[in-house]
Symmetry: C2
Subunit: 338 residues, 2 copies
């Protein structure tokens, strides 16, 4: 060994074992085709040198990166990190690693820096897009690896998707309220340019239309605690005060609940609230929150699995819709007699 500080290369192992580099490579990647004697000698040499393959060199030769890039709007948001955990799980099982890019902070503008420079086959073997607000044109370059959209989706971007059944979820939530006798229902939405908000609004309409109803009020929030809290003021200002509220996510529901309680309303006695997502804290809120369960880790896992499938089979246009379910807790109650 010339320079003991340098990491050993395959050449060093080959020399020590008295075989060629090809044989060493074969022992590492496909041991069954090399003779037992040779294999043992090579394994011994590997152990003695402490050799590990240089992943970059292998990747270059094999024309693959060994990793998948997830584009998330906000990495700090637990909603997305739960999905990421599912993605990471599925990838690890395939020996792939997870790269993460926070799209809201990264610069979309310049062609050199920014998101665009990550969207190439030489950086990732595939893309999982969790941000529905991106420009579909970003993914149109020929060098762009296969894409799977998850959770949110981009209008004008074809290709495989995996989504929760947002319409059904919103419908379930509102039907639950209707079943309790509520008729004056408010809807606190996410940003309406968001595809998620749009399909939840559609679900709300589907539940109300058969009765000839519509939401008595609608407020556009931002999926944040603060915007839910702000909705409390809007609600109090309504002439015909709603008796129930459906919020597009649990954070807004919790923010709203805090805001209403601060104003002296009791949940569920004075007003019923339903959220969406079933985040962990929903069960531990002041008044445990009735909500729609959405399996986020499972959604992430499914997205990763779909990506791996599509890497092999060419791009069929697949759409996987995951079921959701209603979790009844204590934030909803029958409409009291007038």
């Amino acid at each position: 060994m010339k320079d003991p500080d340098q990491a050993p290369r395959i050449h060093d192992v080959a020399k020590l074992a008295g075989v060629s580099v090809a044989t060493v490579s074969r022992v590492l990647s496909n041991p069954s085709i090399v003779a037992e004697r040779t294999r043992l000698a090579v394994e011994k040499a590997v152990a003695e040198t402490g050799y590990t393959v240089n992943v970059m060199a292998r990747n270059l030769r094999q024309q693959q990166v060994g990793g998948v890039l997830a584009l998330v709007p906000n990495l700090a948001n637990p909603f997305f990190s739960a999905i990421l955990a599912g993605i990471a799980d599925a990838l690890r099982e395939e020996g792939l690693s997870l790269l993460v890019l926070d799209t809201r902070r990264a610069d979309t503008g310049s062609a050199t820096g920014g998101i665009r420079s990550y969207l190439t086959r030489s950086r990732a073997d595939g893309l999982i897009v969790l941000d529905g607000s991106l420009d579909p044109e970003l993914f149109s370059q020929p060098s762009c690896p296969p894409v799977v959209q998850a959770c949110e989706w981009i209008d004008g971007l074809a290709g495989p998707r995996v989504l929760a059944d947002n319409e059904a979820g919103a419908r379930l939530a509102v039907e639950h309220l209707l079943g309790l006798g509520h008729r004056r229902i408010m809807h606190v939405t996410g940003p309406m340019e968001n595809t998620l908000s749009q399909s939840r609004a559609a679900g709300v309409a589907q539940a109300l239309e058969p009765l000839g109803l519509a939401p008595v009020a609608r407020m556009e929030g931002a999926f944040t605690l603060a915007s839910g809290h702000a909705a409390a003021a809007a609600l109090m200002a309504e002439l015909e005060r709603p008796t129930a509220v459906f919020c597009d996510n649990d954070e807004m529901a919790i923010g709203l609940m805090a805001g209403l309680q601060a104003r002296g309303l009791r949940v569920p006695d004075d007003i019923s609230i339903v959220g969406f997502d079933n985040i962990e804290i929903a069960a531990y809120a002041n008044v445990p929150l009735t909500t729609i369960r959405q399996k986020r880790a499972h959604l992430g896992r499914s997205a990763a699995e779909m990506l791996l499938k599509h890497r092999a089979a060419p791009k069929l246009q697949e759409e996987l819709i995951l079921p959701v379910e209603l979790v009844i807790r204590q934030s909803t109650a029958p409409l009291p007699p007038a």
Copy 2:
């Protein structure tokens, strides 16, 4: 162009521009040393072919990966994802990408698969370790890239660290309770093998000792809502019921609060509660939570910056301790006269 489906290589651009590959490379990486005429011709050829560099090839040649790996115990935990967001931020500014590995799910055992195979220079230019429960021996291989520990730390692993001031935080929390007149104080800890829990326990002791006091009860939780909730039962069972509780994180504080309220105790009238972390929801809890603010994104950013610094300068043993502060809300009140 022989095969229009193939991504163009630097060779193709060179031919189109009528220059050598070296010149193209120089235009891309160090434009100032090539003549204006040539540069423009190359840039035109780049635009026409839609060329983008092959990152794998560049990385192999330059012996760097262009990415940093974060080891997190649980990716779905918002506590860590906020730190990750800070890390991602700092890395992006340097043109590095973020790789994430969930250490609890990955297999630590086998030498081939598992965490070990990620801890090599050919996979990441550096490591940010957020999991204090890992075996220090993992990082002792010569091929292991530079490591910075953040938030938690590993006993027996030297090297740079960035931490919140856990001792001071716990001390502040308890001193706040003492200042309100409380003397019977319970401590709900994280797992005691966790270095974080240990230093918070030390801070608690520092605050109590001058008065000759000790926690009247201590319960070991798991940093989860559920374990906080479980602590409520333990608390009620105490003969000398505490008048105040310090919880090692906000999740346990919120779980505890829910559990106590379900048992008819009022916060803060019957009992005061302090958390740690100042997670977003702390302000929107049923009773807004008094807690210790810890800037998690900033902590992540500092860790990344420290890593980048140590990549250049050799390994000085640096330890950065970030200040924390007390945020007083409504879950704490003066001890009522007996």
